[in-house]
């Protein structure tokens, strides 16, 4: 870890655990976990519900604080949320009182060093990137589920975070829309060299998107196994080679949760 030759990890989850208190006492949501993520790496966290994968994401985002251990980004401890680590939620979490452009501008307005015109240019650039340049003035309720997640993606990308944290962002979408978004997300994350932590319960999705797939098991949530995915990009979720690896990972997942 302290080898001066190796580049420091972009994200270092260092001996972190998290306990929640509920009516029945304390629950260990995430057992002590250590994980290093390299710059530009796309890491998928997979596991059944209650395995601590979303908890881990919330700790990295800074929305929650670990009970023990610490999260480091570029060697600096994460003390709270910040726009260098943007989050995409399962629900789009867009603001209904703002139009599409206004939603993407929200985060940009909190970023110093941009004037009004630059902000609008940046927002338009990212909305074009997700294919919504014709919907700047649309209201959120007028958009389909897939379009809403595209706006959410543009909003997360716009402040140019180095790290993207995605919590099952495509779970509520239909298969066709999801496949399109897999293609878009691979293209964008490769072009912009983002470091991505992507939570999902869908193994094929994880294999399609990730450079590395990390398996979690519940009670208490902990990392069980890791898989490197060396398939060439861009990947198609219907590719048979991808299915083979996904099958292997699914078997491993079942053995851990059985």
């Amino acid at each position: 870890m302290n080898d001066p030759q190796a580049p420091p990890a972009k994200l270092l989850i260092d001996g972190v655990n998290k306990t929640f208190r509920n009516s029945r006492g304390e629950v260990l949501a995430l057992d002590t976990t250590t994980l290093a993520v390299d710059e530009g790496e796309f890491v998928c966290l997979v596991g059944p519900s209650g395995c601590g994968k979303s908890t881990l994401l919330n700790l990295v985002s800074g929305l929650d604080t670990p009970t023990h251990g610490r999260v480091l980004m570029d060697g600096n401890p994460v003390t709270g949320p910040g726009s260098e680590r943007m989050v995409m939620f399962q629900e789009h979490a867009l603001f209904p009182w703002l139009d599409v452009l206004g939603n993407v501008l929200f985060g940009l307005k909190l970023k110093p060093g941009l004037d009004a015109k630059e902000r609008v240019d940046v927002a338009k650039y990212y909305l074009k990137l997700v294919g919504l340049e014709r919907f700047l003035k649309a209201s959120i309720h007028e958009l389909s589920g897939g379009m809403r997640q595209r706006v959410a993606l543009a909003r997360a990308l716009a402040p140019n975070p180095r790290v993207l944290l995605m919590d099952e962002p495509f779970a509520a979408l239909d298969a066709m829309t999801r496949e399109q978004l897999y293609a878009d997300l691979q293209k964008i994350s490769a072009a912009q060299k983002k470091t991505v932590l992507f939570v999902t319960h869908n193994v094929r999705e994880a294999v399609c998107l990730g450079d590395r797939v990390i398996l979690f098991s519940p009670n208490p949530g902990r990392i069980r196994e890791q898989f490197k995915v060396a398939l060439p990009r861009p990947r198609d979720i219907n590719d048979p080679a991808l299915s083979v690896l996904a099958g292997e990972i699914t078997r491993a997942l079942k053995s851990h949760t059985a």
Partner: protein, 254 residues
């Protein structure tokens, strides 16, 4: 255009039916004046300025009291939604006082402030404040937590979150609370004006009251018409634009 025509025709028919009813002379014209008599009163009182000055007196009381009620209710509602202690104390008090018909404040206001503008103002503020407070509290309490979480990840904190996320997110509740507050304020002020005569200014309620004392039914009816008209205009001017905005953005039927 078609809708405007139908609306116009509806009200024209209503006035016609009224006119015919009076012409049938079932009731004495002293009890039921026709549209012509009421129109005559309204025209005369417009010309001598009494209608305009009374409307102004009433609206001024209403506006000032309503504004104070809203300005106080908005932050207080936010506070009660965010703090359990304030909710258990101020929140319960507000809930209790909101159920009190605001005309019940009139005797108390008269004893405290005498027959003065302050008494009127107090009654209007009491009519507005509690329902605005409770609606804002409701709106903030029912806010999906995902909004503030998303805002925090984008670097929004403290007052920025309050101003740019919590306030706009609870807008549907705030608007309906302000609308309800307006209705309560308007009713309580009318009751107070009919009940209490102030030398500092005759409002529409006083015109109603004098109309009754003089047995001038055309004045009573005319002033009632004006009160209805002001209520309609307030709804169209003050609330319709907001409700259209809510409908457009949220897709709500406001």
């Amino acid at each position: 255009m078609k809708r405007l025509f139908i609306a116009t025709a509806f009200f024209a028919l209503l006035v016609l039916a009224w006119h015919l009813l009076v012409r049938a002379e079932i009731w004495s014209p002293v009890l039921l004046p026709g549209p012509a008599a009421v129109g005559e009163y309204l025209w005369a009182s417009l010309l001598d300025g009494s209608l305009a000055s009374s409307s102004w007196v009433t609206l001024k009381r209403l506006m000032i009291g309503y504004l104070i009620g809203c300005l106080a209710g908005l932050p207080l509602g936010m506070l009660t939604a965010r703090s359990n202690t304030l909710n258990d104390t101020l929140g319960v008090l507000a809930l209790g006082l909101q159920t009190l018909p605001s005309v019940c404040w009139v005797p108390l206001a008269l004893i405290w402030f005498g027959q003065s503008e302050s008494a009127m103002l107090f009654v209007v503020v009491m009519g507005t404040l509690w329902s605005v407070l409770i609606s804002v509290d409701n709106g903030v309490r029912n806010l999906p937590p995902i909004y503030t979480r998303a805002a925090r990840t984008m670097g929004s904190t403290g007052f920025h979150t309050l101003r740019h996320v919590i306030l706009p997110a609870s807008m549907p509740y705030v608007i309906s609370g302000m609308k309800q507050g307006w209705a309560f304020a308007w009713r309580s002020l009318m009751a107070a004006e009919i009940y209490v005569t102030l030398l500092s200014g005759y409002g529409l309620g006083h015109l109603l009251h004098f109309g009754r004392e003089l047995n001038a039914m055309e004045q009573v009816t005319g002033v009632m018409l004006v009160i209805v008209l002001i209520g309609l205009l307030a709804d169209k001017i003050l609330f319709s634009p907001w409700e259209r905005f809510l409908h457009r953005r949220w897709g709500l039927n406001g």
